[in-house]
């Protein structure tokens, strides 16, 4: 017979001491939280409050800004920049869909078909991160350059004629068109889609696939009825991790697009850093958050996964 741990309880301390020990233990989590939470309150929450107050201020850089509860800034910002808002959502949603389409096969390959190459493939997915993403985005300028092999091949296959007609490219070139920006967004956020997809696919018991096969399910049916439903948490996490940062991104639009492809992030950046119109920049930030929050809430409700935090 084995002795269980409960056979040797530590000598019980006197009542007062026990009470003190319990109290001390109760305080432990608060002490652990204190520094980090204070940091977040000062440098994350307080700035948001400041920004909220800035968004309803009026004034100028010379005379200073004062809170005048000028909510019209929101309305003006929305009416002036709604094309950029719509464009951001459209580009980001397209890029997210493309990421899912491109990322799923690779995540599936790594999870089920890679065998001993699994680690190598995983490293290859993460490795590009170590070259600055700005350098890699600039590389797309070379890849998609006018008269380059990619553009010439697309032109020869009449793909560009079709995309020109659809309005996503212009004048037989790819750079400085919506296609280039969406391509850049897709490329930059693809790993954020692949990693959560892989994590959820990797957890699936491969015997479930065998069981489905034994029950005469064809591979496609197995995928539709077993693999895809079980990977839904990864799909949801991946789409959120792609969609949220992509909507606020302004790097791809700036480097790969022209002035006709400016997204809302570009507007916030130029209002804040160049025009120095802080109220408008603040109002746009809150509008962007509201748009994203609304879309994410609807999406999470629809997909029925609420345990993300």
């Amino acid at each position: 017979m084995t002795t269980t741990a409960t056979d040797h309880p530590p000598a019980p301390p006197a009542d007062g001491a026990l009470h003190k020990a319990v109290l001390r233990r109760k305080r432990v989590p608060y002490w652990l939280l204190l520094p980090g939470v204070l940091w977040l309150l000062v440098f994350f929450a307080a700035p948001l409050v400041y920004q909220a107050s800035t968004s309803v201020q009026t004034g100028s850089l010379e005379e200073g800004f004062k809170v005048t509860w000028h909510f019209a800034t929101y309305w003006n910002a929305l009416t002036e920049y709604y094309p950029q808002f719509l464009r951001s959502v459209a580009y980001s949603a397209t890029a997210t869909a493309l990421c899912l389409l491109l990322g799923y096969p690779l995540a599936y390959l790594i999870a089920f078909r890679a065998g001993r190459w699994r680690h190598v493939l995983m490293v290859l997915v993460i490795a590009p991160f170590f070259t600055s993403f700005l350098i890699r985005t600039l590389a797309w300028k070379t890849i998609l350059s006018d008269g380059g092999p990619v553009v010439r091949a697309l032109d020869a296959l009449h793909v560009l004629a079709v995309t020109d007609a659809l309005g996503v490219t212009e004048g037989h070139r790819v750079l400085a068109t919506p296609l280039a920006v969406v391509c850049g967004l897709t490329y930059n956020f693809l790993p954020f889609m692949i990693l959560p997809l892989y994590t959820s696919l990797e957890r699936i018991d491969s015997r479930l696939h065998e069981a489905a096969g034994d029950l005469y399910a064809r591979p496609l049916t197995t995928f539709r009825k077993v693999t895809l439903p079980l990977s839904m948490p990864g799909v949801v996490a991946g789409t959120l991790l792609t969609f949220i940062p992509a909507t606020g991104d302004y790097i791809n639009a700036e480097l790969l697009g022209s002035t006709d492809q400016k997204m809302i992030g570009n507007v916030i950046q130029s209002q804040f850093l160049r025009v120095l119109d802080y109220p408008t920049a603040a109002a746009l930030s809150f509008l962007l958050m509201a748009v994203i929050l609304a879309m994410v809430t609807v999406y999470i409700r629809k997909s029925g996964t609420e345990e993300l935090v």
Partner: protein, 268 residues
Amino acid sequence: MALLNRLARGLRRNLVVIAGLATLAFLMLPNVVVTVFSFNKPNGRFNYQWQHFSTDAWTHPCGVADLCGSLSLSLWIALWATVGATLLGTAIAFALARYRFRARSSAGTLVFLPMAMPEVVMAASLATLFLNMGVSFGFWTILIAHITFCLSFVVTAVKARVMSMDPRLEQAAQDLYATPWQTFRKVTLPIAAPGIVAGALLSFALSFDDFIITNFNAGSTVTFPMYVWGSAQRGTPVQINVIGTAMFAIAVLCVLVGQLVGRRPRRS
């Protein structure tokens, strides 16, 4: 016909493999271009078109003004941001993963929010705070910004690890008369270590590569990503590609060495 049929069947069976490898190629393509163009000798100021082969940039990696200064500044900031975020984040992660207390869910939300927000919003709001406080932008504002956004990622990485840990291991240690401190140092910390290391590495990578938040909070201080951004307007020196390629090679090498070292104890 039979051959064609067999080919078609093989293609269909390996469709996932082919599609997956195509995606991988899409992911690797820019890195290949960056590497190839690090051996370019461009005619103008921009390194976007292939001219002829040259190793000039590799032999003079610091041949352009300010480039290596910005690189070392970025590494320095990334180092301190990692230290700060890992210390603060690990403590929060332990509190959230091991204890049940009243403020737990609100603390969890506070930690989650920075990750759920577009970077540009966080960047602008932090810069608003600094502007209102009259803080001058530079090294410290960048460091504060980086610690703030890395923190949540450390919490997520460490929390996942601590949550999956068997609580009976700690109970066993206490039953064997280990003091709480001994239990933490000898049992809890070693088990949580991979999560902490993962969080720290993630912080380093995020901080080193950050542009959006730095751009709002840097003032006239130039980190490496800021340098690259500026060069996209002024003209891109080949040395940028050299540094990009070298970082990539070093990282892959580190991973390979880590794998080899990690595998050894299991063999013996």
